[in-house]
């Protein structure tokens, strides 16, 4: 048997990697320039300004990268375990579509000009509304498949309504703003936004993490999991609600950052094994590292518009997804 490396060693290395990338996110600027010298120069002139730049400009971006990445990794691993499907992804849950729609409506109505906080508030309201619709659609005691179909339906609706908002957009600038926002980015975010998403993500993470043993039991199917003492109703509700809250909050501040939740659990499986519960923590850490790394990558070009984070993750993720499907097909009997 191929012994898996000790899970704690993997978790610690991933945490160290995420911490390293977090520091790099703070100190590396546009074009890969190291900002340490600049900080020193500024702080020699005025310590307060240097501190302000650090906490209000550099820190929120790095913190959001960390939080959003961890959210996508954790919920991706959780959903793949819940659905027993390696192709599941947090974007599948209608909540991220709902969050995008809510945020887009804020842009569309022109409220975004008021304060930067209206966009995330709209996003979270959209995510919660999508979850409420999902709950009504799924009915009493639904199977996981029913839930997923309801998720697809909700995602489809929110996608259509988002397109409608773009279509009816009053000015091309508004449309452009919406499109750019939807591409996903961590640039120019503030600590207010970090504080805003933190409670949603915290609750979401706890809900998803609370299902860990049930996810293991689900490896053997829903009936067997039920006879191992897990109420499938409660497990499904916690996993979906937790994913919805955390991913909805993430989408509402950063736009859509695709494929991270899909890819990360697959990168972790060779390291820690196939057991869904053992994948949760490494996937959260790995997701954080991946998003922070991708966010460093978008800063490399010196000239021209900055690449959007969501574009980079999709460019990496889509071929990976394709490779995954090919591998699954090869392994199928």
């Amino acid at each position: 048997m191929k012994r898996h490396i000790d899970a704690w060693a993997v978790n610690l290395s991933l945490a160290a990697l995420a911490a390293l990338l977090f520091a790099a996110s703070i100190y590396v600027g546009r074009g890969g320039e190291l900002l340490a010298d600049k900080f020193e120069t500024i702080s020699a002139v005025d310590r307060d300004i240097a501190w302000l730049i650090l906490t209000e400009v550099r820190l929120p971006r790095a913190l959001l990268g960390l939080l959003v990445g961890a959210t996508l990794g954790l919920t991706g691993a959780g959903l793949q375990g819940l659905l027993r499907n390696p192709l599941a992804e947090p974007g599948l849950i209608g909540a991220s579509g709902g969050a995008a729609l809510g945020a887009v409506l804020v842009f569309y109505s022109g409220l975004a000009a008021g304060t930067a906080m209206f966009v995330p508030i709209g996003g979270v309201i959209g995510a919660v509304a999508a979850l409420a619709v999902l709950y009504l659609l799924a009915g009493r005691g639904p199977s996981v498949v029913t839930i997923m179909l309801a998720c697809v339906a909700v995602s489809g609706c929110t996608g259509a309504l988002t397109s409608l908002a773009l279509n009816l957009s009053p000015s091309p600038y508004a449309a452009l703003e919406i499109v750019f926002w939807m591409l996903g980015s961590l640039t120019d975010r503030s600590m207010t936004q970090v504080w805003f998403v933190l409670p949603f993500m915290g609750v979401g993470w706890l809900l998803v993490a609370s299902t860990w043993r049930a996810l293991d039991a689900l490896s053997l199917g829903e009936d067997t999991a039920a006879t191992l003492g897990f109420s499938m109703r409660s497990v499904t509700a916690r996993a979906i609600l937790g994913t919805g809250l955390a991913v909805g909050a993430a989408v509402s501040v950063t736009g859509v950052v695709g494929f991270v939740g899909l890819v990360v659990p697959h990168l972790m499986r060779p390291l820690v094994g196939q057991r869904p519960a053992s994948l949760l923590l490494p996937s959260a850490l790995g997701g954080a590292a991946l998003v922070l790394a991708a966010d460093l990558f978008v800063r490399i070009p010196v000239n021209g518009p900055e690449l959007k984070l969501g574009v980079v993750t999709s460019l990496i993720g889509a071929p990976f997804f394709l490779w995954l499907i090919l591998r699954t097909r090869r392994e199928a009997p």
Binding site: R84, A217, S219, L220, G221, T224, L228, S231, G273, R275
Partner: protein, 255 residues
């Protein structure tokens, strides 16, 4: 351990499948649940396992199972679903260890007692040789023994097994039956849905023949597997061997 089912009614998709099933079973025994397709064997087992809603009362040692907490029920009743399989390529010992989930305290690792139970299940099911392998690379017969080991690891006083030997070759059928027999001989109750009447006749202490949602016959194999019962429920004529080497060999349809 005493299992009592009183006047159990259950429906599947609007159709009444079970219509007033009552039975009682006491102490260590290996009960075979037999009957033609669609008479409600699986439904009965699933109702006792608490997987489907039902009318009537199912009690374990006098306590209604529907009033038990999910965890308490999971410790009292283990269930091996028909055609159960693993969705992930889990390593064999990890899969068997899933049977201990009802016993694990939140935030605690498996205790020495859990490890011992896993070891006992592995040795009872004879799956030592597969340890360290990915369960999806095993053959059908080997895999079903590993999944049975998972159900054994619960060490529940009552084990429900739904068609454990279908789609297996004779060697693996016998091995599974021997494992179930051994589990019952350790002082527990096994209720298995079976289609192979010879295996049922040779390994079970008691057979319950279901027909049309009701119990048609209940007793020692020789009393249940009579030509008349086989004709009326299975609609077959069979050669029936009695004595020390019992067998049932279906030879023609009885129309």
């Amino acid at each position: 351990m005493r299992l009592a089912v009183e006047n159990l009614h259950a429906s599947l998709g609007g159709a009444r499948v079970l219509r007033g099933v009552s039975l009682a079973a006491d102490g260590a025994q290996f009960v075979g649940l037999i009957g033609p397709n669609g008479v409600g064997k699986t439904t009965l087992v699933r109702a006792v396992a608490g997987l489907i809603p039902f009318e009537g009362v199912v009690t374990l040692d006098g306590a209604p199972v529907s009033a038990m907490s999910a965890r308490a029920r999971a410790r009292a009743i283990s269930y091996l679903a028909q055609g159960e399989g693993s969705h992930w390529p889990l390593e064999v010992s990890r899969l068997v260890a899933l049977g201990r989930l009802p016993h694990l305290e939140p935030f605690h690792r498996a205790s020495a007692e859990d490890e011992a139970a896993i070891e006992r299940a592995i040795s009872l099911a004879g799956v030592h040789e597969f340890l360290g392998r990915d369960v999806l690379t095993l053959s059908g017969g080997e895999r079903s023994r590993v999944l049975l080991a998972r159900a054994l690891a619960v060490e529940a006083p009552l084990m429900l097994v739904d068609e454990p030997v279908s789609a297996l070759d004779p060697y693996h059928q016998l091995r599974i039956m021997e494992v179930l027999r051994a589990y019952a001989d350790e002082g527990r109750m096994v209720v298995a849905v079976l289609h192979d009447l010879t295996l049922a006749a040779r390994h079970c202490d008691r057979l319950i023949l279901l027909d049309d949602g009701k119990i048609k016959a209940d007793g020692p194999p020789a009393d249940v597997l009579t030509p008349q019962n086989l004709r009326e429920t299975y609609r077959i004529e069979a050669l029936i061997g009695e004595g020390s080497e019992p067998f049932v060999l279906p030879i023609r349809r009885a129309e």
